[in-house]
Subunit: 333 residues, 2 copies
C-alpha cells in the first residue's frame, strides 16, 4: 500500500492541518522510462505554498490539483525501474510528493546523490539541498558580503535564514542581524547560530531596532519572506545595497500590498534580485562541496527538526507558517 | 534684480502652479570660493518632486525649504567669481535653482561644459545631461539588451523614456513597447521615435495589451515611474528579466502601495536595480561622447520642449505631472 497526503482544500492564507488529508492507495507500477521509488525523507518548504492556489500555475510549476498528493522535494531510493539512468538502489533527490512511494520520471528534477560520505541523507534536503544552496547562491552570487558589511536576514530561524547567517559570517560580514517571531528562537540564533542581534518582528518596534542594531546602515538584506519587513528595511539601506530575494511567504499568505517605498532603491542605487536554486543546477556540485567543507571544518552547523511518518506532513507543513520550527524541517517517511 | 520661483507650499500629490510663486530680490554677491552665475537654461525633472515633501531629506538631498527658490539642474555661465576653478565666462552644469542668477559653490555638483562643439547648450540638461545619461547607464550597465529582447519602457514620452527607446534599439533590442498617457504621444512615439507599439495606461487594458505586444514575454522593463504599471509588467517577465529603475513618480504623488507580486522576481530570477546618474559622475565623458556620436550619426534624435522665462518654471514643472509634455522640458531663463 502507498500512503499519501493529499491537498484536500486550497489554504485560505496560512495553511492549516485541515487543508490536508491522509489517503491510502495501491502502490503504483512504473511506466516506460519511469521508476518506482521509496521516499526516505520529505522536505517541508514554505515556498511550495505558492502553488497551492487555484490560479498559481506558472513557468516553474503547475498549480497543485485538489485530492492529489502534495508536491514536495524528497530524498528517495529507486526500488523498481524501467529506466537505465535510474538503477535500483540509486539514492536521488527529486521533486516528487508527500507519499511513501512515488513514480519518478525524467520531468521530476531528479538529481542522483553520492552516498559514499558520512553525511546524513536528510542533509540533502536542507543544509546541502535547496535551502542551504539558496543561502549559498544568494550570498555568493548576489550579496557578496564584504568586510564591515551589515547583513540583515528575514526568517532568520528558517531553513535558509539560519544557514545564510552563518555563511555571511564565513564570507566576512561583520554585523549580522536577524528577524524572527519568538524570544526562544531569538536567543538560540544569538547563542547557538552566531547572530549579533535579532529583532522580533511580531513585538518589537522594527524601525527603532533596525536603527539600534544597524548603526552604519544595511548593506545586504537577505529576504526570505517579502512583505512588510522589506518596507522597513528599505528605509535603512546604504548606497549599493543588495537584496537577494528567495522567498515571499508574506506575498502568498496575505493580501498585503508590496512596499510603497521602492524609490529607496533608486536613491541608493540598490537592487532586489530574485533567484531560484534550480536555475543553478549546473553548480550544485560546487555549492555542495563548499558547504560540506564548511561543515567538516566546524564553520557551519546544521539545525534540523525531524517529524516521523508521511502522515505528519500536513501538520508539520502548517507549523512552518505558525513560526514553530527552527532550522530545516523534514519528515522521515 | 534676481527673479526666482519659490516653493510657496508643499504639493499635495501632483504639483500644481499654485504651489509656486515668483519672487524678486537683490542679485546676490558671491562669498569666499563662490561664484555668481547667470542661469541660461533650467531643467524640469519630475524626480525633484521627491524633495518637496517636508520629511523628504535623505542622503542625496535635503528637503526643499518653503519660500526658498526651488532646487533644480541648470546650465549656467559664471559672471563674477571668487574661485579660480570657476573662471568668469565658464559654462557649467549645476544643481542650483529656479532663478535668473544663483550663487554657485563647491557643494552644488558643478560640472564644467566644453562649448567648442555645435551642440545646443540646452542638450546638456536633456539628451546629453542627466536624463539622456540615465537612459544610457540604465541600458548599458543594467539592462544590457540582447538581439531578440523585448523592452518595455514606462513614461516612454518622458525625458528619459524617449531616449531609452532609441538606445535600446541601437543596442540591438528587437521589440520596443512604451507606456504613455495620450493618443497623440503614442502616435508620435511610433512614427517619430521608433517604438514598435505603445500602450495608453490611462485607457487600455494593460494586461491584454502586454500579452498582445509582448508575445514572447518581457526581458527588460525600464521603469521611470514605479507604482501600478510595475505590478502588471511583473506578470509578463521572462526568466532573467532586468528592471532598471530610475524614477518613481507614482511613488511620491500618491499613496499607491507597491506591487503585491514581487514574488515574480523570485520565480523568474529577475532583478530590480535602482540607479542615479550622479553615482556615475566619473563616466559622464564616456556617456556624453557616445550620445554625441549617435546624435551625429543620426541614430539618436533629440525631442525638446522649451518654455520661456524663469517665471514659467512652476507652470511648466506642473505640466510634467499632467502628462502634457513630450521629450525633455527645459526653461530658457
Amino acid at each position: 500500500m502507498n500512503t499519501s497526503v493529499v491537498l484536500k482544500r486550497r489554504p485560505a492564507g496560512k495553511p492549516v492541518p485541515e487543508d490536508f488529508e491522509v489517503a491510502e492507495s495501491e502502490t503504483p507500477t512504473p511506466g516506460v522510462n519511469e521508476a518506482l521509488v521509496e521516499n526516505l525523507f520529505i522536505s517541508l518548504d514554505a515556498g511550495f505554498r505558492n502553488w497551492m492556489d487555484e490560479d498559481a500555475g506558472d513557468d516553474v510549476l503547475p498549480a497543485m490539483a485538489l485530492d492529489h498528493p502534495v508536491m514536495g522535494l524528497t530524498v528517495s531510493k529507486v526500488i523498481q525501474s524501467n529506466n537505465p539512468d535510474l538503477p535500483v538502489g540509486q539514492i536521488l533527490m527529486g521533486r516528487l510528493a508527500w507519499q511513501s512511494h512515488s513514480i519518478a520520471g525524467p520531468d521530476d528534477f531528479l538529481v542522483p546523490l553520492t552516498t559514499d560520505d558520512d553525511v546524513p541523507l536528510s542533509y540533502h534536503l536542507g543544509i546541502l539541498g535547496d535551502t542551504g544552496m539558496s543561502a549559498y547562491f544568494g550570498l555568493k552570487d548576489i550579496a557578496q558580503p564584504q568586510q564591515g558589511d551589515t547583513v540583515v536576514i528575514s526568517a532568520a530561524a528558517g531553513a535558509v535564514g539560519y544557514v545564510a547567517g552563518q555563511i555571511a559570517r564565513i564570507m566576512g560580514a561583520t554585523n549580522i542581524v536577524g528577524f524572527t517571531s519568538s524570544a526562544e528562537k531569538a536567543e538560540k540564533l544569538v547563542n547557538e547560530v552566531g547572530y549579533d542581534a535579532v529583532i522580533n518582528h511580531a513585538t518589537d518596534d522594527i524601525d527603532a531596532k533596525l536603527a539600534e542594531y544597524c548603526p552604519n546602515g544595511i548593506d545586504i538584506y537577505f529576504d526570505n519572506v517579502g512583505g512588510q519587513i522589506l518596507e522597513h528595511v528599505l528605509n535603512h539601506i546604504n548606497e549599493g545595497a543588495r537584496i537577494p530575494f528567495c522567498g515571499a511567504v508574506a506575498d502568498y499568505t496575505s493580501t498585503n500590498p508590496g512596499p510603497s517605498n521602492l524609490f529607496k532603491l533608486v536613491t541608493n542605487s540598490a537592487r532586489i534580485q530574485g533567484f531560484m536554486t534550480h536555475h543553478n543546477v549546473d553548480r550544485y556540485d560546487e555549492a555542495r562541496d563548499q558547504l560540506k567543507d564548511w561543515l567538516a571544518d566546524g564553520k557551519l552547523t546544521c539545525f534540523e527538526q525531524q517529524y516521523e511518518g508521511v502522515d505528519s506532513c500536513g501538520t508539520a507543513f502548517s507549523g512552518l507558517f505558525a513560526g514553530k520550527n527552527f532550522g530545516k524541517s523534514v519528515v522521515k517517511a
